[in-house]
């Protein structure tokens, strides 16, 4: 599905990503990316989705080297993403923007996505007028359309309450299983990550610290030292 080889992104002397190797082979699973601020989590998402160009290394998606592909091409290949800061179309209604994106990515699943993310009551509202939590779900909905194979969610729960976060993760988890999608989620809410993710990768200072199942990661001394602390 996704194979990342020796991925580096340098800004002068700053190594935002420093030789990352990662492979996600199984679909229908949620892969969490955690780490302290500045670890390179969002940068990794940006490189996979085409928002930033890697200094070196390769990103393979379903056997295709997508390193030189534009974001639009990657989306059409099946790599989809949401953003750390809500990224929607404020002046379009919810249904207008979902239809617009579905028309491009070939989705006939608008109603399913609306229903799964409980957006029906705001479907005819302009996106700029709906509640923040609904806007976050619209952002995720835009990424889910067209049955992508790899779903990148960059802090989907940012700014949401505990209840909203849990509900959003439940929706995402259900959709990932049902559609057999691979999801990669960057999230600061450790409880949500350990509760919903099947595998977790920990980054620190642009380097990959470890990848494993939640229990394994939680007990790892390097992860505790770098990110979780002894109280985790």
């Amino acid at each position: 599905m996704l194979r990342i080889e020796d991925l580096c992104l340098h800004y002068g002397n700053l190594r935002a990503l420093d030789g990352i190797d990662l492979s996600l082979s199984q679909s229908g699973r949620i892969h969490g990316i955690i780490g302290p601020n500045g670890a390179g989590k969002s940068t990794l998402m940006d490189v996979i989705s085409g928002r930033r160009r890697a200094t070196s290394g390769r990103v393979w998606f379903r056997g295709v080297d997508v390193g030189a592909r534009s974001p639009a091409e990657r989306r059409r290949l099946g790599i989809s993403r949401s953003f750390q800061r809500t990224s929607i179309f404020p002046t379009l209604t919810v249904i207008e923007q979902l239809e617009l994106v579905a028309a491009r990515v070939g989705g006939d699943d608008i109603e399913k996505v609306i229903s799964a993310l409980e957006l029906n009551r705001v479907r005819n509202e302009r996106a700029e007028t709906i509640a923040y939590g609904d806007q976050r779900r619209v952002d995720v909905a835009l990424a889910l359309l067209g049955n992508p194979r790899l779903l990148l969610l960059d802090e989907p729960a940012a700014g949401l309450s505990r209840a909203e976060t849990t509900a959003l993760f439940e929706h995402v988890a259900a959709l990932v299983r049902e559609r057999d999608v691979t999801a990669m989620i960057v999230e600061h809410d450790v409880e949500a990550v350990f509760g919903f993710c099947d595998d977790i990768t920990v980054l620190d200072l642009g380097r990959l610290l470890m990848t494993g199942e939640p229990d394994e990661v939680r007990r790892d001394p390097k992860v505790i030292a770098a990110y979780l602390g002894s109280g985790a």
């Binding site: 928002r51 974001p71 639009a72 059409r76 989809s80 990224s87 617009l100 994106v101 491009r104 990515v105």
Partner: protein, 339 residues
């Protein structure tokens, strides 16, 4: 039990259907009535001013469309206004082409140049885009003033055109007569209003607004954002080109003044007065601004009164005349506000 609900739903549906068709119906009625203007506006002077107002309105519609749909401000609108006038003049005077052929040449030539220009500049950020259009417009103005090109462009004196035949059955003198020119200008106004009306309400319009709202999200949704912006620029250029063609058909004259950057100020103010977000507003703005300029010029303090009037109008009517109409319509439970 269900009967009252059904009746209510039917009434709502009927009301929505009426609302959906009210704006197009109003436009059709307005278009038909517009042809009758020379019947009641007998003054050649004011009809001539109104013709100039329509031409300015056409340019304002082009600029307003780009501004509202793409957040692209076009400071160099004079390029699309002056270029077709010069191309028409050159084809008429140097090659003795008929007015119809010269008009076609003027449109095609300007559009070809605008596509090449758009290809180079629509990727630019809004301020850079605005300044690039201004720079191109001024380059064109300097081009026609080059001494070596004077035999072709007429230099400072411009070109007085003698038509080789009629334009769509209208002689040169008929086109110079306000009452005879009005139907030509009004037909073009109706056509460009219809074009923009359809464009803004189509999927193309939605793509433009979505790109304006969030270009990055569009790219990450699989869309190429360059082609729609180029198409919008081409449409606006085409509309402005028609404005330039109207001008040269009416005045039979192409001069460097047509390429002056100050035109952009008048065009953008007209769009703001009328409401750049609407299809009719810029036309109203163009006519109102032209009539206002005439009154202020008569006072001897053109710039002063124009400046004061612009400040007052824009402060009092942030959404232009169209904003007032939309508010009144909403109060009466009428039509959809345009995006």
């Amino acid at each position: 039990m269900s009967a009252p609900v059904d009746v209510s739903a039917a009434l709502v549906a009927k009301s929505m259907a009426v609302s959906r068709w009210s704006a197009p119906a109003a436009l059709v009625i307005l278009a038909a009535l517009g042809f009758a203007v020379p019947l009641w506006l007998r003054s050649s002077f004011y009809l001539g001013l109104a013709n100039q107002g329509l031409i300015l309105g056409v340019l304002a519609l082009a600029a307003g469309f780009l501004m509202h749909q793409c957040r692209m401000v076009i400071f160099g609108v004079a390029a699309f206004y002056g270029a077709p006038a010069y191309l028409f003049a050159i084809a008429s005077l140097n090659w003795s082409w008929s007015p119809n052929a010269a008009a076609l040449f003027a449109i095609l030539g300007t559009m070809l140049a605008s596509l090449a220009m758009g290809f180079a500049i629509v990727r630019a950020k809004p301020l850079a885009f605005a300044m690039l259009t201004l720079a191109i417009g001024q380059m064109l103005r300097q081009l026609v003033l080059i001494t070596g090109l004077r035999p072709i462009t007429g230099g400072e004196d411009g070109l007085n055109i003698v038509f080789n035949g009629a334009f769509l059955g209208l002689s040169q003198s008929a086109l110079a007569t306000p009452a005879r020119f009005w139907p030509v200008a009004w037909t073009v106004v109706c056509a460009v209003v219809l074009m923009v009306f359809v464009a803004t309400r189509s999927r193309f319009g939605r793509i433009l607004r979505a790109t304006r709202d969030n270009e990055e999200r569009m790219r990450f949704s699989g869309y190429d954002t360059f082609a729609p912006r180029l198409a919008a620029f081409a449409l606006a250029s085409f509309i402005a080109t028609l404005g330039g063609l109207l001008q040269v058909l009416n005045s039979s004259f192409a001069s460097p003044e047509l390429l002056d950057f100050s035109l952009a100020g008048n065009v953008l103010v007209s769009a703001l007065i009328g409401g750049g977000a609407s299809v009719v507003g810029p036309i109203v703005g163009g006519v109102a601004f032209t009539l206002g300029l005439d009154q202020f010029a008569a006072s001897g303090h053109l710039e002063l009164f124009t400046g004061v009037a612009i400040v007052i109008v824009i402060a009092a009517l942030p959404d232009g005349v169209e904003g007032i109409v939309a508010r009144l319509a909403r109060r009466r439970g009428g039509g959809d506000a345009q995006n």
